[in-house]
């Protein structure tokens, strides 16, 4: 056995062991520097695995070091954060989809406007934020939208195609088009008439003499003053009439008593009745009252 063979075998095995250790450490822990741990907790069913990235505001700052299934419906997640990064205390952790095939990452999102200078200490627990909708949820919504669209399409097929709705719609559009054409014609005619009217008005306005207008206005002002004076007189007369009517209503004076006292009315009725009976008696027995003597 040559000494050189022993050395070469020893070197080979030593290098292999070093490569193995370094490689496993690098793959499992994200590098030879260990980083510091942060913890968080999510509900079951997040598809989390060891090695998935941890993002701070979209930047990869570490990886998921361990995921422990708890019997109470939660996952304890250990995140290993690179030493050069600090996670603000306002951050919340969510599980975010990063592809079409169910791959996820833990996203740490600081609260906007919060204090970004105070950071989590190693070993702290980052509170979990509200879960983001996953691909399955989005696909579920897409399915429901698709179903709704299908129903709408079927209804459109029934109402618009089978029941002749499209034909009616086409007719309505044609009628509307014809109506619009007529309205355009009418508008054009009215426009022409209006133009003529305005021209005539302009001509009339131009022909009016301004001095005549001035004298007319003065006359109108004088007439208005006369009307005002007459109105004042009328008001005075009306006041006097009100006094007279007040007296009449209260039964003052002869006219008032005539209007309010019913005795005269009864006397007149009695007198009229007496006269009626007298006339009847005269007709019946004229000789009693009238005696004609001739000679």
């Amino acid at each position: 056995m040559k000494r050189r063979d022993e050395v070469s075998v020893g070197i080979l095995i030593t290098v292999a062991v070093v490569v193995l250790l370094v490689g496993v450490l690098w793959l499992a822990r994200g590098g030879l520097s260990s980083g510091y741990p942060l913890f968080t907790r999510f509900a079951w069913g997040q598809n989390l695995k060891q090695g998935q990235p941890v993002l701070l505001a979209g930047v990869n700052i570490g990886y998921v070091d361990d995921v422990t299934l708890r019997p109470d419906g939660y996952l304890d997640v250990v995140m290993r954060i690179n030493n050069e990064y600090r996670v603000p205390r306002t951050a919340k952790s969510t599980v975010r989809a990063v592809g079409f095939f169910g791959d996820v990452a833990v996203a740490l999102t600081p609260r906007l406007g919060g204090d970004l200078t105070v950071a989590f200490a190693p070993g702290d627990t980052v509170p979990a934020g509200p879960p983001e909708p996953g691909v399955a949820e989005i696909m579920g919504h897409a399915d429901s939208i698709s179903l709704s669209l299908n129903k709408i399409t079927q209804a459109m097929q029934v109402e618009m195609v089978d029941a002749g709705g499209l034909r009616d719609l086409r007719r309505t559009i044609a009628s509307t088009s014809a109506l619009a054409t007529q309205l355009q014609q009418i508008a054009a005619e009215q426009n022409a008439n209006l133009t003529q009217t305005l021209s005539a008005y302009r001509r009339v306005a131009n022909s009016i003499d301004s001095t005549v207008i001035d004298s007319t206005v003065r006359n109108l002002r004088a007439s208005s003053q006369s009307v005002s004076a007459a109105a004042e007189k009328f008001n005075t007369a009306a006041g006097q009439l009100d006094d007279i009517f007040a007296k009449l209503n209260s039964g003052q004076g002869t006219a008032g008593m005539l209007l309010t006292d019913t005795l005269l009315y009864r006397n007149l009725r009695n007198t009229a009745a007496t006269l009626d009976s007298l006339l009847a008696d005269i007709k019946k027995n004229p000789g009693r009252y009238i005696s004609v003597h001739i000679f």
Binding site: M1, D5, E6, S8, V9, L12, I13, V15, A16, V17, V19, L20, G23, V24, L27, A28, G30, K49, Q50, G51, Q52, P53, N60, Y63, V98, G99, F100, F101, D103
Partner: protein
Amino acid sequence: MHRTGIRLFRRVTHAVVGTFQRVGAWSYFSRDIVRALSEPATYGPETLRQMKNIGVDSLPLTVIVAGFIGSVIALQTRYQLFPGVQLSLVGLATRQMVILELGPLLTGLVLTGRVGARMAAEIGTMRVTEQIDALETLAYDPVAFLVVPRLLAAIIMLPVLTVFADAVGVASGYAMGVYATGISPSDFRDGLKLGFGTFQVVYSLLKATMFGGAISFFSSFEGYIAEAGAEGVGRSTASAVVITSVAILVLDALTAVLLAPYLQS
């Protein structure tokens, strides 16, 4: 028709009996190996020499094969991806294929050709030139002197070579992915680390250990039972390569069936 049937029956019977006979011979050979393990003074020095032959001398070939395989995996994966798939998948696929499957498997198959054939030829030549008989005459246990050192050396050095194969395969995949196909280094690294568990490396090394044992066992056995003449040595060498290759593939499938569920992280 009647004779053809009889001839076919004889052949089938002969094949079945031959298989049982070979399994029995393997069992006796295994027993001899276990018995020979009690003689470290006999196989100790030779084991170190065989480790150099199997490990150090096979390193260049193993590294070359793993380098090409890793780079081809990265290249193929990159160009099979349709738009929208994250490119970190290239790193993930390269790591999984190299470490879990192709690293140990190709190392085993390469060493079957290079080391297994050599073992069968060496031991077979010693058998046909009656050197093995001479060892027995000198009260040396030929199994302890010839087979056990090769077996131990292969069991130790195959995992060592597989470590290099895995590392070089992943590194060449990284180089090809980043420098030839435009994947960003961070994407590739993210894929490499995604879902990695140390059991994946254990699985790879476990397979390599089994492959090393299979190579040395079947190759030594085929050489050990070589028939007289140069033709017998050639036949035993060819049988060693074929049987060992098949055995490696069968072991690979068995380990996948038995251990793959534990690989899910």
